[in-house]
Symmetry: D2
Subunit: 249 residues, 4 copies
């Protein structure tokens, strides 16, 4: 078995330390560098890291990636804040380092990625489609970003298939009962003490319904997806956006 040497940036943060633990537990990966604020990036080179995982901060991630690419180290990035401009800069750097791969992904939870993918694939076969997302009550936005994105992708798939609005004979509505209207797909946001992060996509046609539900019960759910990225990135030079590119769907 080939063992890949992995460095983690942001290693002492909550997410970073969970990733360190997951890398340590994987037989085909070796954790060679744990780097955080104040540590020199050169530690990655010194340790011979082949792949770096970056869950840091929008303020520092570009510096980190410039260093990685310059030193031919692949990177798997969960840090947020990637604008089109930043992605363009990344592509420029990678053009000069043709063997290096960088994965930038907004979501590493494999279950969430599959839920969205299946929702979109199924969307064109069902006249009716709605989303119920359920979260802990400390969440600031309703609907969640994931639910909004799922709805938008389903709307596009429906439009392509010539499906219009879902049928709905509602004539008397208590304000808000039918949820938020994301271009024809209704989205309902439940906020409940005790919940973590959950989403249900409901699709209906004559006599049958299909429900795709994702439950995130623990914040460690990103770990298997990060490892999938780490194991796939060396074979994917250049910039990859979204973990689903590495999934066989």
């Amino acid at each position: 078995m080939t063992v890949t040497k992995v460095g983690v940036l942001g290693a002492r943060g909550k997410v970073g330390s969970a990733i360190c633990e997951a890398v340590r537990a994987a037989e085909d990966l070796e954790l060679v560098a744990e780097v955080d604020q104040g540590d020199p990036l050169s530690a990655l080179v010194d340790a011979g890291a082949e792949v770096v995982v970056d869950f840091t901060h929008p303020d520092v991630v570009m510096g980190n990636l410039e260093f990685c690419v310059a030193n031919d180290i692949h990177a798997v990035v969960g840090t947020t804040g990637f604008t089109d401009e930043r992605l363009e800069t990344l592509r420029d750097w990678l053009a000069d380092s043709p063997d290096t791969g960088v994965l930038v992904a907004p979501n590493f939870a494999i279950g969430a990625i599959l839920m969205m993918r299946f929702a979109v694939q199924a969307a064109k076969y069902f006249p009716s489609a709605e989303i119920v997302e359920l979260h802990h009550p400390n969440k600031a936005d309703a609907p969640s970003g994931t639910a909004h994105r799922t709805a938008a992708m389903m709307v596009a798939a429906r439009a392509e298939a010539g499906l219009g609005q879902s049928p709905d004979a509602t004539s008397t509505e208590l304000d808000g009962a039918r949820g938020a209207d994301v271009d024809g797909v209704r989205v309902h946001s439940v906020r409940l003490t005790g919940l973590v992060a959950h989403q249900e996509v409901l699709l209906g046609t004559q006599g049958e319904t299909l429900t795709i539900r994702h439950d995130s019960l623990d914040r460690s759910s990103f770990a298997p997806g990060v490892l999938l990225g780490v194991r796939s990135i060396a074979a994917a030079p250049g910039l990859t956006v979204g973990l689903d590119a590495f999934m066989d769907l």
Copy 2:
């Protein structure tokens, strides 16, 4: 085994004929009269009916009941349109016939009655409570009457227990995402081809949630409740409102 003689009013309607079938299938009940528009009510007396089931129409139900009470026949009534005034009239008639019982109930689906009961019993133990009701897309009102009634009863139970609003940090909301606000309990209405009538009551507290879900998959779901009424009414002289009075909860 004592066998009770049952007459059905509205016997040729959709609901009535399903009740006739259920009575016929019950070993302890005998269907002695099937009466519908145009048939004389005296057929009930001639057949010796002890209990009459009435699923007819608001326009005729009071005449039916006046006849039943005058002839000392118990009645189980699913016909709608009972105002306080009508109930008062019924009580007056029953006062002159002290052995006769009449049950008027808005809902005979045992599962729905239990769902509401449990939702109210549980309401005071959970800081968070929301309702998701799901129906076929031909439904005109959102939320459903059952969901609205459930929410109102839960609100009352919560208030009595000193519970205020459910916690909710939502600061950015796409209009309608958080559902309809029924005095502090949020209600979400899903409309989906393929569904019949479903309701989920969600309750949350620290680290755990309780979900009570009722699925009505077939319009025959009222039948077991009607039979429960038929079997209980002889022992309950006077007016009873709501089938739960005959349930041991």
Copy 3:
């Protein structure tokens, strides 16, 4: 809009008459022949049927199809009993009629087909996988054929991805509690009055689960799939097995 002329074999059966109704309701289809036991097959030719739907009986379906292929009429077949030998015979007939298409499918419920497809696609990403299928209590076999088939396909996908048994530390088991073992995927069969036909595929990995649920609430759920077959078959000469061949997945 081109209108396709459709004939239905077994038109007076429960399924057949539901299909007649669905064809009649579709703007792009015209019901030109309703044929059942005792009617001559020539009625299909006389009416100019371009596509025939066959929901008949294993005893007569081969004769029906021989006639259709000989007369260059496409066929969409939901009748059961297709052995490899029968499929081979069909292929031979079709070889002589290169423009004709025949679709044979064990399942026309689009939701069920998608559930199976997604279950297989997702299987390789989750260490844990189980199936809960729920049906009315009159069902003779446990697990259902669909659940058994889903499990077998998931087992194959897991094996290909190098996944072994799902983790399971059970050391004390009340006989049967952990369900039926289909080569490493556990299948649980619930039988409940009031249910129709439902299946839930549960997949779990670190900190998250994905659930894919299909609810068949009404026996008319095959209709949209049959129409999809009718609309697709003319463009697919030869033999096609399984409706998913006509779905863009």
Copy 4:
């Protein structure tokens, strides 16, 4: 507002420290003593504790309770291992201290207690009843103790109502598919990575089903129940077994 002074035994354990945190966060409670192995019990008296919470170990709990009762301190006990003999000893001690109350409960999760209560209340109204419990794959026993207890209580309620076996026409069964048979109620145990502790009680009658589901997503779910016990125990002299005695159901 009266403030109750609370001491915690086993205060440095996982559960104990969570309880300390919950007591500290409650406005009507004051945490006056945190006692663990090696600390003298007299600290409870010195601090003026009115109620003590004991989540310790079967080896020490009886000594703790003897001390509490002798010093007129109420106790709320989640420690396991209470045999009938131990309960009898407790009753003897309490007989000499008529104002003191002790609550011993096997389960403080309010949602789980309500699930069981509602399952039993509903059991007599549904011909069909089954249980699906779902847990993480490290669990040793299948079914869970809670599921087994729920089934046994439902069986008793069904028997009292004259209900026999649930209807089940299964004639071909893959071994284990229909779950474990707990005196006529089938119990299915799902084991899935990512899950915590979940249970679903399914009840079915003609045309409708009722589902009662409890999800425990976090081990802190006992805290609200412990606080309910702390707030109720002073008004309940003597021995109380089970938290539901303090719930208004």
